[in-house]
């Protein structure tokens, strides 16, 4: 085995010899969670005397100028510390998007502006001794607005006489006068020409809605000054390092004056890849020197947070008579809401994740992202993938029907295979040019086999085609095939450091952010495997900007794939040092030794020395030094995971009601470091994708005010609505990932919507082109068909 980086080598044979990886190791924080002792931001007792509470006033208007803020009655209340608005907060433009610097999102947001751009936008904030007092104070503040006309439909943004970002100091907006936040175009070959020459050309328009991530824990931050006069910020975030940098900018203070700690997160899914409330919380501490807590209510979590980008997509495909795809075009209009957070990059991802699955020689992609006076879209699990695949996969199913061919064969025949280049990956990076990807692993066929079997696809299709003729309750099956990515090539970086303790345990410090995704466990397993110790010997501490090395944070499905290698590198450095000391203690040559189960062992004599012996020797006895290692990782590879999802539905054609009967997912995630946790990621993603397909939708009234900002009215599937679920992990061995891993956390959200749409169409011959597929929409379409 090549000692240099054997953690990058894997195969079925190698996997058999692994002791920590590929096993369902006990979740490192599972015990304390189950005991009710896990401490989230709101649970921690801070080293402060008194905690003050901040509340934000949100705009009731979609678009307005703040003419006057009369806070006199609020300030007169005993226990109110201050009221903060554009009148007394310095004006600094930044982006709230938690992205790599320089952020590809426009700097179009100030902490408190003189203008509000959506119903829910910030107007001002109050700081008071209790949350109830802060609420009372908010109610006493009188704000005078000059209400402006609002743009509430993305199709009306360009060329509208209303300009949403007419301020002079914002930067990075592509065309303020046309309300265009960003635009991107990418081309391979000549799609226009290829369409003219094709035997079949099909074109359809699809649209997708505003949805919410709805993590169970709303946004929360606590900030205070420590004894070194630095701001300490505890927050529920995916991006502690980006938060530190962006908050420093917003406050106008050096980065070294802030420490950001993410203790635990109660779910994020992208909505916490944002500096959403941290800036206000930190600013209030900065100004008042007091400890401040800012916690969103559930209503605020819906109406003033971040959402998924709604899009209108036009897909056009050209085929030869034999079903070979010769041209593929995707044009989309996206709504980024009032601010441009993640505007360019989500839509770039829509193109690259969806279109790269197919190897049409001529591809055209264009996305225009516009502002509206509606809630801000940002990062949400899947990051453009769910939108793109709803359109693309539904479209391909339809093409197959029109051409009279099997839709699965049509897809599979045109999909990329191992060895293929993905040309669009070069044209579409994260706001800059990307890096050409060549497929090294692809488990799509095996995924397909499993899912087809679970839902008995071909047999059921035949059976139901007959049975449906005689019943108003119709059944159908549908498939979706998707591909995603692992990290952002050339951009994402993770780092880690490890040191040994007296008893052969190790402290692992890494910036990588566990959102409940389980990365603390996964990364401990990786470190343990490289160090040849049980996972229980690794003590992981993550996401503290003072103590842990840098990591971009948890997004883009990067943690296992990229941060994992950094951890492995750090562990390998430690291992090399341990073996060297072992060689000295055993008086043997390096090449005659190996490590196993916390010991350095001689191949020849079988004599061994434990890691404890090595630690005690190096820490206390002779030639003392601290055995420790560090590592960073960045890669230009972005190996895609693959996924097939299949669905069986039952449609009541008299009411339009869709019942989910069965749902199967198979994901090629490379190697699964912890299989049960990988399954959990898949099942959770499916839940989100099914909600996207059937019932989740943020709604607005004629004035742009959200009408369903709560769990009662914004409906998500409960235990009683979920179908019978099957989950499979298909393993391939990706040479660029630690122990062969790719990623798993986002791809399961990409496929449920098209799988359901295809199953519904199979059941009742009606296709719905805009999500969600509600019973009302379906019944209307069924009646229209009659």
């Amino acid at each position: 085995m090549d000692n240099k980086n054997d953690f990058m080598v894997n195969s079925a044979e190698v996997k058999k010899k692994l002791s920590e990886i590929g096993k369902n190791k006990r979740k490192v924080d599972g015990d304390k969670i189950a005991r009710g002792r896990a401490l989230y931001v709101g649970d921690i007792k801070m080293p402060i005397d008194k905690l003050y509470h901040a509340k934000i006033m949100h705009s009731p208007h979609a678009h307005a100028i703040i003419k006057k803020i009369d806070a006199s009655r609020a300030l007169a209340l005993k226990g109110v510390v201050g009221v903060y608005s554009h009148e007394n907060i310095p004006r600094v433009q930044y982006t709230t998007a938690g992205q790599n610097y320089p952020e590809p999102s426009p700097y179009d947001t100030v902490m408190f502006d003189y203008k509000v751009r959506y119903a829910g936008d910030r107007v001002c904030a109050v700081l008071a001794e209790t949350p109830e007092l802060a609420e009372e104070a908010l109610a006493l503040i009188k704000v005078e607005y000059e209400v402006l006309p609002a743009i509430l439909d993305m199709r009306e943004s360009i060329g509208n006489k209303v300009i949403i970002h007419d301020e002079l100091d914002s930067t990075g907006i592509l065309d303020k006068t046309k309300n265009i936040a960003a635009h991107v175009k990418a081309e391979v070959g000549d799609a226009q020409k290829a369409f003219s020459a094709a035997d079949f050309v099909f074109e359809n328009e699809y649209s997708v809605q505003y949805v919410q991530a709805a993590p169970v824990e709303p946004h929360i931050a606590i900030t205070y000054f420590d004894e070194n006069d630095r701001i300490v910020m505890y927050c529920s975030t995916q991006v502690p390092f980006h938060s530190r940098r962006i908050v420093a900018r917003a406050l106008g203070i050096p980065v070294q004056k802030i420490r950001v700690i993410k203790p635990r997160t109660g779910g994020s899914f992208g909505v916490k890849q944002e500096i959403l409330i941290e800036d206000v919380c930190a600013m209030l501490t900065h100004l008042t020197k007091k400890a401040v807590k800012l916690e969103y209510s559930r209503k605020e979590e819906f109406s003033s947070s971040r959402t998924r980008h709604p899009q209108i997509l036009t897909i056009k495909t050209g085929f030869k008579k034999d079903g070979t795809m010769t041209a593929l075009s995707m044009k989309l209009l996206a709504n980024t809401g009032a601010y441009g957070s993640h505007a360019l990059t989500v839509q770039c991802n829509t193109g690259s994740k969806a279109l790269c699955l197919y190897k049409a020689p001529n591809v055209f992609f264009e996305a225009t992202i516009v502002y509206t006076n509606l809630p801000v879209a940002g990062a949400l699990r899947g990051y453009g993938g769910p939108q793109g695949y709803f359109a693309l996969d539904s479209h391909l199913e339809e093409c197959a029907k029109k051409m009279g061919v099997d839709s699965i064969e049509l897809r599979h025949k045109n999909q990329v295979k191992v060895g293929d280049e993905l040309p669009l990956t070069k044209a579409l990076g994260e706001g800059r040019e990307g890096f050409m990807q060549t497929l090294k692993t692809c488990g799509m066929q095996e995924c397909l086999d499993k899912v087809l079997k679970d839902i008995d696809y071909y047999n059921k299709k035949k059976k139901y085609a007959e049975e449906n003729k005689k019943s108003s309750i119709k059944r159908g099956v549908g498939i979706a095939m998707t591909m995603h990515g692992s990290g952002i090539p050339g951009v994402d970086m993770g780092a880690a450091s490890i040191k040994i303790n007296d008893d052969g345990s190790f402290n692992l410090l890494c910036g990588a952010t566990d959102l409940g995704t389980g990365s603390d466990t996964i990364l401990s397993q990786i470190a343990a495997e490289v160090l040849k110790v049980p996972t229980s010997k690794i003590l992981i501490y993550s996401s503290d900007t003072d103590i842990t090395p840098f990591d971009v944070g948890a997004y883009a499905s990067s943690t296992t794939y990229i941060s994992g290698v950094a951890i492995a590198k750090a562990a390998k450095q430690c291992l090399d040092q341990i073996i060297k000391v072992g060689a000295h203690l055993l008086s043997e040559k390096l090449e005659d030794l190996y490590c196993e189960n916390s010991s350095v062992i001689s191949k020849k004599t079988k004599k061994s020395v434990s890691y404890t012996d090595v630690a005690l020797y190096t820490l206390y006895k002779e030639d003392q030094f601290q055995i420790m290692g560090s590592g960073s990782h960045i890669t230009y590879d972005c190996p895609p995971p693959f996924c097939v999802q299949g669905c069986e539905v039952e449609v009541d054609t008299e009411t339009g009601k869709i019942k989910l009967v069965k749902f199967s997912s198979a994901v090629d995630c490379g190697l699964a470091v912890n299989p049960v946790m990988a399954e959990g990621q898949i099942e959770g993603g499916v839940h989100m994708g099914l909600g996207y397909a059937l019932c989740e939708e943020l709604k607005f009234d004629a004035k742009g005010v959200m009408t369903n900002p709560g769990f009662l009215d914004y409906k998500m599937l409960s235990t009683l609505d979920m179908p019978e679920m099957y989950t499979h992990i298909v393993e391939t061995y990706e040479p660029s990932g630690p122990f062969g891993t790719k990623s798993v956390s986002e791809i399961p959200v990409d496929g449920p919507a098209p799988a359901v749409a295809n199953a519904v169409e199979n059941a009742c011959s009606v296709r719905i082109y805009d999500l969600p597929i509600t019973s009302e929409k379906l019944l209307n379409a069924l009646l229209e068909k009659k």
């Binding site: 189950a34 409940g516 959770g684």
Partner: protein, 155 residues
Amino acid sequence: MKLNLKVNGENKVFDIDVRDTLMDVLRANGYTSVKHGCETGECGACTVIINRKTVNTCIYPALKAENSDVITCEGLEKDGKLSILQEKFIEMGAIQCGYCTPGMLLSAHALLMKNPNPRLEDVKDALSGNFCRCTGYKKPVDAVMAAAKEMKGGE
């Protein structure tokens, strides 16, 4: 004013404000497993067992719990040993971010106290008021069924 009740088997007297919800009181007195997820009794993150029944404490006036027998997640273990239900949740991957876990464990516990032999529909019903965005519910439901089986002495 004072609130008298039993929490996890111990008699307690808490100093409260008449306007407090039970969630306010429990969290202020160290039972931080009771979580804030919403303010309208819709997500179940604040679930607690009162007199053997699960309740959303965020909309339960503290005074209503006078003389009641309350169980929080902290009370599920015995002498530092995790219950079978807690173990199953950990083993079977039913925990991800963990924010909904205390509420779910209590909903499951309340079910098993009343019905040690639940059908799948009973478990789904019992957990239907505990919103989870991480797991898709499959593993938590499976974990409760497995716990019930093991508690009955099945293999």
